[in-house]
Symmetry: C2
Subunit: 363 residues, 2 copies
Amino acid sequence: MKYLTTENIDYLAIGAAVLGAGGGGDPYLGKLMAKQALMEKGKIPLLDPDDIPDDELVIPSAMMGAPAVMLEKLPNGSEPEAAFRAVESFFGRKAYAVLPIEAGGINSCIPVYTAAKLGLPLVDADGMGRAFPEIQMVTYTIGGVSASPMVCCDEKGNKVVIEAINNNWVETFARTITVAMGLSSMIGLYVMEAKKVKKWGVKGTISLAIEIGKRIIVSHEKKTSAVDSILELTNGYRLFEGKVTDVQRDLTTGFVRGNAKFEGIDAFKGTSFELHFQNENLVGLLNGKPCAMVPDLITILDRETGSPITTEHLKYGQRAVIIGMPCVEVWRSEKGLELVGPRYFKYDYDYVPIEELVKRNAS
Amino acid sequence: MKYLTTENIDYLAIGAAVLGAGGGGDPYLGKLMAKQALMEKGKIPLLDPDDIPDDELVIPSAMMGAPAVMLEKLPNGSEPEAAFRAVESFFGRKAYAVLPIEAGGINSCIPVYTAAKLGLPLVDADGMGRAFPEIQMVTYTIGGVSASPMVCCDEKGNKVVIEAINNNWVETFARTITVAMGLSSMIGLYVMEAKKVKKWGVKGTISLAIEIGKRIIVSHEKKTSAVDSILELTNGYRLFEGKVTDVQRDLTTGFVRGNAKFEGIDAFKGTSFELHFQNENLVGLLNGKPCAMVPDLITILDRETGSPITTEHLKYGQRAVIIGMPCVEVWRSEKGLELVGPRYFKYDYDYVPIEELVKRNAS
């Protein structure tokens, strides 16, 4: 059996941020929480979903809202458990394990914290294989799993339970409640039997994030670049290398929307790159032509260290390598693209897989 | 035993609007709902709270949000029952009766509808003896009764349950959820044992509203004015008679805030009246000096018919009689004034009872 220990947490957080595709937030506090809980409870089992009996319940635990807010409005530490237990009580059954819901700085750590606190194993799977901004954007929605009942808890002890007619309505209510809670809340939702994870989950996300993180941190120590090693692991592409010449951000809608411009260096000298983001990086244009688009992953790495740079931390003058990675197949289905394709995010592009775009641009 | 029948509903709605002190909304749809349910189920018992065993549960049923919205976003009719049953299920016990929460056009009718639909009696009491805009503004808050668990239901079938640390947080969450539901929701909250109603409830509100309404409607038929008769019944005062010369309204905060100016006629010729309102009428100034203030009741009556005019329906040129009525004693306590005194509503006045103000202004 695999186990997660405190040593894995730095790997996990940095690797999940690579899969977070610019989103998922600053993992600082999440890392501290996960490490502290693991130090108290020791290691926790990391379960292959296929090793869980079909009809056992698993429950995702996550944070909703603006991760930056958590650095000032500190959690009291009992919210994730409160949300998890409240969801559990709806079914009158105990959960078998905690399920991560997305790959991203903070939400890779919160389920570890919850699992360690509750003495439960963690499932090595998530519902995105990356990060997305809205509740309904999980592979489980395609599989007909309801996000309801969803529970939001805050650090003051308030608890709100949502039972909505579909996952989009869950998003609507949860967003407004999270704003009222002070822009962040701890949530439990998408309770499901293990067979749903086996069928619809993105398997191995946690192991993959840990391996990516390990390669980045080891390369720091060796003073080499981790980029090629990450690309090999994720079947990814080096889309661009250059420096940031402009960043525009708009926060008025409750998301970080904007774009960044890059000027090529070295092999990319004379070319330009434009990145459009809404919490996550969604569309990349090389010399004005799309070279990667959502739901495929676009991630900015620091050119020196290979560490991921989130959309919140993009700054003028940064030297970056921009990589693209194919998303999991289910996102490329008709239902998948309805949920998270470029048009959902109001971009006027039909989705073209990254492999195809790279081929086109090379010819 | 007293009973409520369809014949009482017009009386109840118009009388409750008098007690609504300018708030409580347009009862049109609420009246239709209550009448239809009563026609189906026949009469329902109207219980004196003192006749209910101490430890039986009673549950308030009400509408939250903008009553005007209900005229376009029609209820499907099952929401009040859904909210009521959801609250009930938290306690694993059946309710003994439905409890009105406020006196006001729409929220006098909704509990009748719910009681008739569920085949339960209605309690002859409420938690205000008038209307107020926010959830925590009930006598039960002073008595330490929690508004949680509170359930909000919409016509689409969405349900949200709030368990908050105090009644002000319940208001915060319920307001934001109601806005997300499209500005109106049906709610269940303040579940309590009957002994709390006996101690903290405003008793006889329903009977009083029916009696007020009856006097107004009978006087229409006799072509006389009901004003004196209402004043006698409520220990009220004729504060002013005149016509509306100006109305200012601001809806941007989700409430109807504003003021209206009046010019005296007949016995009040040469005097002026200024009314400040926030959903309900809160402060009245006669020639610039306060003559009534919240939590005492200020109600505008049509000078011809004696029918109440809500703040939403105040219009230039209307001829009106402005009456003031003393609130129930519990609102005049320190805790009561903290919850609903003039300073809570940001008016720079210390509360003075209406009897005292009338005396001062007369001397």
